[in-house]
Symmetry: C2
Subunit: 479 residues, 2 copies
Amino acid sequence: MPDNKKMVAAITSMDEDFAKWYTDIVKKAELVEYTSVKGCMVLRPYGYAIWENIQRVLDGMFKATGHENVCMPMFIPESLLQKEKDHVKGFAPEVAWVTHGGSEKLEERLCVRPTSETLFCEHYANIIHSYRDLPKLYNQWCNIVRWEKTTRPFLRSREFLWQEGHTIHATAEEAIEETERMLNIYAEFCEKYLAMPVIKGKKTESDKFAGAEATYAIEALMHDGKALQAGTSHYFGDGFARAFDIQFTGKDNKTAFPHQTSWGVTTRLIGAVIMTHGDDNGLVLPPDIAPVQAVILPIAMHKDGVLEKCREVMGQLSAQFRVKLDDSDNSPGWKFAEYEMKGVPVRIEIGPKDIEAGQCVIVTRHNREKTVVSLDGLEAAVTEKLAEVRGGLYANALQNRENRTYTCKELSEITAALESKGDGFIKAMWCGAEECEDRVKEQTGVGSRCMPLEFEKVSETCVCCGKQAENLVLWGKAY
Amino acid sequence: MPDNKKMVAAITSMDEDFAKWYTDIVKKAELVEYTSVKGCMVLRPYGYAIWENIQRVLDGMFKATGHENVCMPMFIPESLLQKEKDHVKGFAPEVAWVTHGGSEKLEERLCVRPTSETLFCEHYANIIHSYRDLPKLYNQWCNIVRWEKTTRPFLRSREFLWQEGHTIHATAEEAIEETERMLNIYAEFCEKYLAMPVIKGKKTESDKFAGAEATYAIEALMHDGKALQAGTSHYFGDGFARAFDIQFTGKDNKTAFPHQTSWGVTTRLIGAVIMTHGDDNGLVLPPDIAPVQAVILPIAMHKDGVLEKCREVMGQLSAQFRVKLDDSDNSPGWKFAEYEMKGVPVRIEIGPKDIEAGQCVIVTRHNREKTVVSLDGLEAAVTEKLAEVRGGLYANALQNRENRTYTCKELSEITAALESKGDGFIKAMWCGAEECEDRVKEQTGVGSRCMPLEFEKVSETCVCCGKQAENLVLWGKAY
């Protein structure tokens, strides 16, 4: 069985080469496959099923807060992209251009959407006239193209999947509230469903979205101590409305410009899950988004009654869980390695002796702990074990983040912390000057990730210039 | 209330101008909005929700038959598109070409996928080696671009949404079986969930998909007597496998080429629903895909207890149905017109007298019949009414198709039938010669839609040349 050998072969260890470990997992867990177009991947069934689960949960959260899905075109005429000046400056260098339709040259080039603010604004200008038309709380799930130079599966690719929310409101207050609401939904989703702790913060001026008044983000710390931006929520003020001439007549019969937001998460979340929970045996998936939550593995499969019992248990569990029975003729050892590689949260082993005793063995993926449980009321035991995995993953990730978060008052402390303890989050005060932000980066290698919304001052003065400082900044090396 | 006036204004009547009637509905029911890119539309929340419902049901049917979703890139390098000769000939004239990434010219042009056979084949060549890797039963939900000259919302647009299934099998028999299975699933979906009768048939040689050995389709008859192809299922034989060098080692240790299929339905189904069930008051939606299945309209809303009772009923029904309560201050008459325009299958009117009597009025959209029912056990009444709508829509559509299906033995009979009774399906025998197929089109205006899989011979000879004929062809003017 040559295929099997290939699968069981160990992956590069995390400590040896984290980047290689990551790409090994992505390939061997069959999440993606490369194509002949650089930076464009195939999301294979197992990888795409993770995204479908993420979509299902998030879409439910969006709809529960009053949002509606729409579908915008994927093409943006060059002139439309140019309407908001900061926005075009930020995106034009990295868009793909369509110049021909069939054999004919187009009169105007079209870019493939790198984000859809301009399309939503054009639409809003068409459909919004009165205060009665507000707010519009729209979202779309779609593919996006940004012509990146260096690419890595999930983390940075030329085409990726995401959702982009675009909302428009009568007042600034409402729009700001929406920006915060969606940031909180993202944080809740990451912590509850991905078992990934995040820090909510505001981006500095230099790191804002092109065209935004304020950008908020959630930041997570990966296993190697690098930071990953897991979601963003932007407040636009009325800047886009002015650029696209979106106006409405208020209750007072006066015309006004509405206020907008946008917010998004991408398939990058899958990369975050890999680098937050994975280990040297492969992927480790949080139960809520795992395509298979529990895998049933028959032991001594060809002995009388084993397969029958496994099928019975499969039927018993499948109403409540996403469950799979592997009755292939691969060896149990091969199967153990395979489903560890694929990060299935719980494995259930059933052999002849177990059946005799009316029990089975449950192994939780994250800590490989074995528990013998009765086959009676197995549902409750599986529910409990999945909760254990969820809780264990979150606790481990939080522990890693705490171990790797360093509080510093001087630039020299940052350098010392990174050198002695490895990459991580730096908590340090900042005066607000862009020169200081740049200098921290130049001298220590860590950039500003965000200004946490909840924080305690760790000193009175800027870590860089020593002047008085009011903002805590979370610094780190970023994916 | 200027917005309201706009909504209540009557649409063009079907009989006066069917095409105008269609675009009026598409706009006034708020399904789509045009954009500045010709042939690319915004699917608005109400239109997109119909597609989401179609997706949900079909995706369930695909998964129940063992299919898995994947996501392929949207770009196809020109050299990859050219690998299968018939395929490139069919699609190259209508693709959009990306020539630049950022400010740099690409070394090779990329087309935006007009369909993804070539991408799936490249992927299959990478992942299929042994009989153990077969079959692969893949599907993807995505956007597609074809640079059409004339466009109409849902029916023909430059960008549209669809699903494309791509499967690969060890034997021809398995692949043929899959082709038929998916044709049957499409037919079942259309008849059961869209209440739209369809005829399953095989396409003639001249009408096959570019690169297929055989193309099957389901054909529906629209209200104006024109035919609409609602879904297709293709059998490829091993032609693509040979072109892309996909080979596998069989159980017998010999290498062989696998056999493939592809199959798809698009947002065109929404156009089919409009033209099958709509009337002069607007859209009429089959309950299974209606974003709102029942709308609750308070009568004399500001009288004591009316709104409270409506909210209570809303809570009662919403566990089981997609239901909406319109408590806006628009008049009941305006609301009646609005939800008729939007094709909501069932409307529930609740006023003070109804409440006193413990009852409400249910009106079914397709026939505007009123029934007074008790508020006790309203769920059962709504279930029954929705079934009535479903059944009524199907019966009406079938009746229309039967009224407009003409059996003809001579070309002159075709012309006479179309002239006296209007457009419709023609059932007539065909000898199999392409010249006859072309001549029927030239002389009568109807083209071959398909050769129905189930049929009785209507004569012994070809409707065109008079030679012996074995095939019944369904002819019609097509969307």
